[in-house]
Subunit: 170 residues, 2 copies
Amino acid sequence: MTTLYSAVMSRTPDARASQTKQIQQSITNVEKHFGEMCQLFAAYVRKTARLRDKADLLVKEIRIYAETETPHLQRGMKQFADNLAKVQDYRQAEVERLEAKVVEPLKSYGNVVKIKREDLKTTQSARNREYKQMQQLEKMRQRNPSDRQTIVSLPFSFKRNGIKLIYSGH
Amino acid sequence: MTTLYSAVMSRTPDARASQTKQIQQSITNVEKHFGEMCQLFAAYVRKTARLRDKADLLVKEIRIYAETETPHLQRGMKQFADNLAKVQDYRQAEVERLEAKVVEPLKSYGNVVKIKREDLKTTQSARNREYKQMQQLEKMRQRNPSDRQTIVSLPFSFKRNGIKLIYSGH
């Protein structure tokens, strides 16, 4: 936030406007792509879960078939089924991990983007307020050129997010 | 076939009937379970292919997003996309291999089972024919006890699958 604020505040009005636009585009870009990646990762997780389910059925069927076979083949088939079942356990771990470490964080970016947008608005209105104050100051200067020195050295302050910011020059 | 034939032919009529039944059950069992395993493996392959498709979309989206980002993040994202794409190449190989080495051979067992069933029928009818011939022989013996020695030493033959089989005693 401090970065956003100082980036927007430290330039000429035109540069500020262009930078604000750039930041807005950047936010919109992240919002769009993170949203799509989130959906695709979620779909990837779902497909993985379905593959796991199908493999579980396969494991079950192989075990049933093994029961009907001669001891030697039975042992081999059961081992195969056990190993295939272990692969499904890993797949289950994959599903849980992707859900917790990728899909959820990407989802929560929805909120991050919202907060950043509000930040930007707050910063913009602060900037506009400052700009108006500057203009008023300029008018006062033009009206009373003799007070110039006094006015320039007068610090002005405004409140932003509960923190009092003091501008002592420009 | 030779094994089936000799297994069925080498016992008393009751033992033969029970053995034929056992072979029939074994064939039915394999037919049932191989059919189900074939379907499940095919479904597993399909789900794997769908997972691959979804991951391909994800790779595409990550690459699009990477294009909009700063160089450092862009490089990292592109590398991630490349690696994820490689995993999908392996998945494609998995799909092709499972299709060729597991699903197709299991499918072809449908024909193997059919042929085995026909074999069993041929063997059974050969057995029945033999049994009738034996009965006729026995009748002839009982009618002419004096010819016993001659009849026993006479070989009898029948054709099976184009091969002439000669029985010289029992």
